[in-house]
């Protein structure tokens, strides 16, 4: 499923980023495929904020749908 459906406050592992530009940028920022991240916030119909170690990145909702995580 997309990371947009992960509940706020829970941790998850990014399995695949189905957007080549975003994959490149997120890999550089340290939010690569395989990274364990926490979902910090989901703005209604808006961006999802991810955190790893102590760094945060905000991604638009559409993009968040294409950041796949394994559903547990």
């Amino acid at each position: 499923m997309g990371i947009d459906r992960v509940p706020v406050g829970s941790r998850t592992r990014i399995e695949a980023i189905e957007d080549s530009t975003a994959r490149r940028e997120l890999t550089r920022l340290g939010f690569e495929e395989g990274a364990d991240v926490e979902v910090v916030s989901r703005i209604p119909f808006g961006p999802v904020v991810l955190q790893r170690r102590h760094r945060q990145v905000a991604i638009g909702r559409e993009l968040a749908r294409r950041v796949r995580v394994s559903s547990q």
Binding site: A22, R23, E32, S41, P44, Q51, R52, R55, G60
Partner: protein, 588 residues
């Protein structure tokens, strides 16, 4: 990693012999690093040239130049990696190829991210030094990296620094002389392999867990949720309005403009000119109604300067605290309705300071489509600080309802222009992807310096145009040209906009800069409804000459001309319709 990403891997200069190639500029020192790690602070300290320091990514769009020990120093745009994928990457990659020495500035408190670029640089074969910046922050968080371990792994000098306090910079300057090519080698060159290697190296260099910081950690999470973030945003906007719109625009400016400007300076200027015996048209041009030494000076020094300073002060606080990218996150949903993403909030907020500056900053948007939409929105519907000042001063006298009506109409125009372009322009705008920097207390020195530098830049840019505008109007007045112009525009002003005929004078001024147009409305004795119509027309009217120049440079003369003509049509169409609506509902 898919094959399309191989450009991100490695730089063309991969052998150490490339370093001494004749292509490299004599002794060139290049500062390279991720955005927002203190490169500009180190550059400022090394070269003595001021480069803007702030807490949001992408402050340096062009490379800054300076000299250190008679060697050229360049502050490259911040980038997360080398390659060909964005303007910043291309510029930085090009500079790295030309460099004799690279100073790789990294954020010690966020080293996991920064090591990706560091590894690319260490693979490039160019002699380098790592400035392990912000070690104080890292130490406070309990994650001070092991500089010796990093030095050994990379094979280059690693110097801990706190650039804004000047710590470690002497050692850094010494180490530049001992820079050497990295001994780091990567098996495989794709992004994913390098990212994994960076993560492994990070685990070796930083062995502790980060300490929790109760308030800051909470704020960093809360500020990007709707229920905490929106009130915080509203509070900061209210604070800015109180400072710029009330305290400065009303209280301070009424004192400086009336007392200091009109009652002390202008009579003084007139008495000087009269003492020299200059009379007739020359006197009119120098110290008349639109005189170079009267209106121009009063307006620039006693009205504009305090307002612009107050605005840039507020903006510096937003930037340096790290709040701006969080605002971008909060408003992303709203901006996507007009074909932009949250990132565009940065040029738009800057545009409220100076539309020209906002237009330049549209560069940080990634596609031409977004740049076009943002530029159009800025130049049609965003009033700059100078204009806002005059607008606030004029409308506040009539009461809050008129201010709201003005803001509502301008906002509606902004949405209309944005949605229209979003529909008309081909393609799709990319989604938001922005790093949120840590929240920090803005440092008073940095805020003051930034306020002064930007304020001075704005005043230098605005003053000649204002003087030119005043000169044109004075000459037209002396030669009778103003009457001709007024007669020509009279039907449009009187019959279409229901304004006094003299209001056409403001249009002449408005052709040069929109804010003087507004300034001219002050003493015209307009009714509230007339003032509203006039201000809407002036706001939507042609951008100032400097903005047009920038648009022509960034987007081509044709786009600039289209926007210029478009503003004439939109301004008068909206103004006329508004005048009729106001009459119809009985407030005019």
């Amino acid at each position: 990693m898919s094959s399309t990403h191989k450009n991100g891997a490695g730089v063309a200069v991969s052998s150490p012999s490339a370093v001494a190639s004749p292509g490299s500029r004599e002794g060139l020192v290049v500062l390279a690093g991720n955005p927002n790690v203190g490169k500009s602070a180190i550059f400022t300290r090394l070269s003595g040239t001021y480069a803007e320091v702030s807490n949001f990514p992408g402050t340096t769009v062009d490379a800054m130049r300076g000299t250190w020990n008679e060697r050229p120093v360049l502050d490259a745009p911040g980038t997360y990696g080398l390659g060909e994928h964005s303007e910043e990457e291309r510029i930085t990659t090009g500079l790295v190829k030309e460099a004799a020495v690279i100073v790789n500035v990294v954020d010690a408190a966020h080293l996991d991210r920064d090591l990706f670029l560091t590894l690319q640089l260490a693979e490039s074969g160019v002699p380098m030094v790592v400035a392990l910046n912000l070690v104080d922050e890292a130490r406070k968080a309990g994650i001070e990296p092991d500089a010796a371990e990093l030095e050994q792994a990379l094979g280059v000098p690693v110097i801990p620094t706190v650039a804004v306090k000047g710590e470690g910079l002497e050692e850094l300057a010494e180490a530049i002389g001992e820079a050497r090519p990295g001994t780091w080698h990567l098996n495989g060159a794709d992004d994913m392999t390098r990212r994994r290697a960076a993560d492994d190296l990070y685990a070796r260099v930083v062995r502790q867990e980060r300490k929790r910081r109760r308030i800051a950690d909470w704020l960093e999470r809360a500020s990007v949720t709707l229920h905490w973030g929106l009130p915080m945003l509203a509070l900061s906007l209210a604070g800015i309005y109180l400072l710029v719109g009330v305290l400065v625009a009303q209280n301070l400016v009424s004192f400086t403009e009336t007392r200091l400007g009109q009652e002390m300076w202008e009579p003084f200027a007139r008495s000087i000119i009269d003492a020299t015996g200059i009379g007739g048209p020359i006197r009119e041009i120098l110290v008349g109604e639109f005189g170079l030494f009267t209106m121009t000076v009063t307006y620039i020094v006693f009205l504009l300067a305090p307002l612009v300073a107050a605005f840039y002060f507020s903006l510096a606080l937003l930037e340096d605290s790290g709040f701006l990218p969080r605002i971008a996150t909060l408003v992303d949903r709203g901006l996507s309705a007009i074909g932009l993403n949250g990132r565009a909030v940065i040029p738009i907020i800057l545009g409220f300071g100076c539309v020209t500056m906002g237009t330049i900053t549209t560069r940080l948007l990634s596609t031409k489509r977004e740049k076009t939409i943002a530029t159009a929105v800025l130049n049609f519907a965003i009033p700059c600080s100078a204009q806002l000042a005059v607008i606030a001063a004029l409308l506040a006298g009539f009461g809050g309802a008129w201010v709201f009506a003005y803001a509502g109409i301008i906002l509606a125009m902004l949405i209309a222009i944005g949605t229209t372009l979003d529909r008309v322009l081909p393609g799709e705008s990319p989604p938001l992807l922005i790093e949120l920097p840590p929240l920090r207390w803005p440092r008073p020195n940095a805020v003051m310096k930034k306020t002064l530098t930007k304020g001075r830049w704005f005043m230098q840019e605005a003053t000649p145009w204002f003087a030119a505008g005043a000169l044109i109007v004075s000459v037209l007045q002396v030669t009778g040209g103003l009457d001709v112009w007024q007669r020509f525009l009279r039907p449009l002003m009187v019959n279409w906009l229901y304004l006094p005929a003299e209001a056409s004078r403001t249009i002449v001024m408005g052709l040069v800069r929109r804010d003087f147009g507004a300034a001219g409305l002050y003493d015209m004795g307009l009714t509230p409804a007339q003032a509203l119509v006039a201000l809407i027309v002036i706001t939507l009217f042609v951008p100032c000459v400097a903005s047009i120049m920038v648009m022509a440079k960034e987007h081509g003369a044709r786009t600039a001309f289209r926007i210029w003509v478009g503003t004439w049509v939109v301004a008068f169409a909206v103004g006329g319709v508004l005048a009729r609506i106001l009459t119809w509902i009985g407030v005019a």
